[in-house]
């Protein structure tokens, strides 16, 4: 391991209230949960923080509940929790599908939904699902709780609206009527970070289709012009041209911009042609 822990300090709250108080009084602190991203940076010596907040023990953030048509998933729910949840499989099957394709079982057993959101990688597997589903991020601070529409949550590459004294405590997803669709394209099925990842919901009862793509821009992207084109009856080629104007993939270690553009338009066609 390149990074040393000797000079790092760990705060250990027993409750959410404790954690929020520590953020206020001892901040800034780096929150840590399943550590499946954080400890990769620690191991490689690229983690800059020295003061950390261990959230793993806060069981109050592990529930999955449905109330008034709203599915609420606690921030500390792991990918394994999500795959096993009947409520998720019934109401948000594309999230269960995304969870199944994160890393391998060891990562699925530790990595959390809140962590995937907070980590703010443009390649996060669950993020296109949350964007397409019009999810809402529930953020808490000692001053109270606020709700942030997921599509507004990211302000730039790895930048979010979350304040330094706030924690993501849950993700809420309204009822979805149309069929849900998810596809991740990477080097292999397990243990691969996506080259392109797409989540989509069919148009249903007058609602337009909803489409979100990851790994093709600085943040996960909803593609409203593509959605509108399809809703207005555009052909798939025209919708694909619109999609290319809405995404901005780059060349990086995992893929090239050209390949990503190609895969993104292919995924759009696969989704659209698979409608019932």
């Amino acid at each position: 391991m390149l990074g040393s822990v000797a000079d790092r300090q760990l705060f250990e709250p027993r409750t959410l209230r404790d954690a929020l108080r520590m953020l206020d009084q001892e901040g800034p602190l780096v929150p840590m949960a399943g550590c499946t991203d954080l400890y990769v940076s620690l191991n490689f010596g690229t983690l800059t923080g020295t003061r950390f907040l261990n959230l793993w023990g806060l069981d109050e953030l592990r529930s999955i509940a449905v109330a008034d048509g709203l599915l609420s998933i606690g921030a500390l729910c792991t990918y394994t929790d999500i795959m096993r949840s009947r409520a998720v499989r019934v109401r948000l099957p594309m999230l269960a599908a995304a969870a199944r394709e994160v890393g391998g079982p060891q990562v699925q057993n530790r990595g959390t939904l809140g962590g995937n959101v907070a980590n703010a990688s443009p390649a996060g597997d669950t993020l296109p699902v949350l964007a397409a589903a019009d999810a809402v991020i529930v953020a808490a601070s000692s001053a109270g709780t606020r709700r942030i529409p997921f599509v507004e949550f990211y302000t730039g590459y790895r930048q979010t609206l979350l304040a330094a004294n706030e924690l993501i405590v849950a993700v809420e997803i309204p009822r979805i009527r149309g069929r849900q669709w998810f596809r991740k394209v990477g080097t292999r099925a397990a243990q691969a970070i996506s080259k392109v990842v797409m989540a989509a919901i069919d148009d249903s009862g007058g609602d337009p289709p909803r489409i979100a793509v990851g790994s093709v821009g600085p943040t996960v992207l909803r593609v409203p012009s593509t959605e509108a084109a399809l809703a207005a009856g555009a052909g798939i080629e025209e919708a694909q041209r619109t999609l290319l104007e809405e995404i901005a993939p780059i060349d990086d270690v995992r893929s090239t911009a050209e390949y990503r553009r190609r895969v993104a338009v292919n995924l759009l066609a696969t989704f659209w042609k698979s409608r019932r």
């Binding site: 000797a6 191991n43 391998g104």
Partner: protein, 148 residues
């Protein structure tokens, strides 16, 4: 800090942010847990926390407080999986083997080939081509059990 290691209550003095992997190898002297990639890709450092497979390179020591940790040493060399891996060529160079076995131990008796492939998807082996590993898990499956 107190936790249960291979069925025994232990008290270990280590930095709360130390990797569980380093605590096991250096503070507890259990070198059966191997470090491969150090980034959660290879599964060589797989151990069980409360019967759940995790990458020990990505777990801060603070997060195993009051938990049951099982390493390859906890199987005492007598687990049917260990015998099957040895007899059927499931182990070659051996670096991935402790992690493979601990990922396989939770699959329960008689896992399907699909369940084995999914269950071991987080464990990489560069020697065997996996077929011998899948055969070993199938052979041992009927007897698989784990001590906490």
């Amino acid at each position: 800090m107190q936790f249960t290691l291979n069925g025994k209550r232990v008290r270990v003095d280590a930095h709360p942010m130390a990797r569980l992997l380093d605590v096991l190898r250096e503070s507890c002297g259990l070198t059966g847990t191997k470090e491969g990639c150090g980034e959660g890709e290879c599964g060589a450092c797989t151990v069980l926390i409360d019967r759940v497979p995790v990458n020990a390179c990505l777990v801060p020591f603070a997060q195993v407080a009051k938990s049951h940790v099982t390493t390859i040493e906890g199987l005492r060399g007598r687990h049917p999986l260990q015998r099957a891996f040895a007899e059927l060529g499931g182990a070659q160079c051996g670096i991935c083997t402790p992690g493979m076995i601990l990922a396989a131990v939770v699959l329960g008796p008689r896992p399907s080939t699909n369940a084995i492939k999914t269950g071991l998807a987080g464990n990489i082996c560069r020697c065997t081509g996996y077929s011998a590993i899948y055969r070993s898990v199938q052979r041992a499956g009927a007897h698989a059990r784990v001590r906490r």
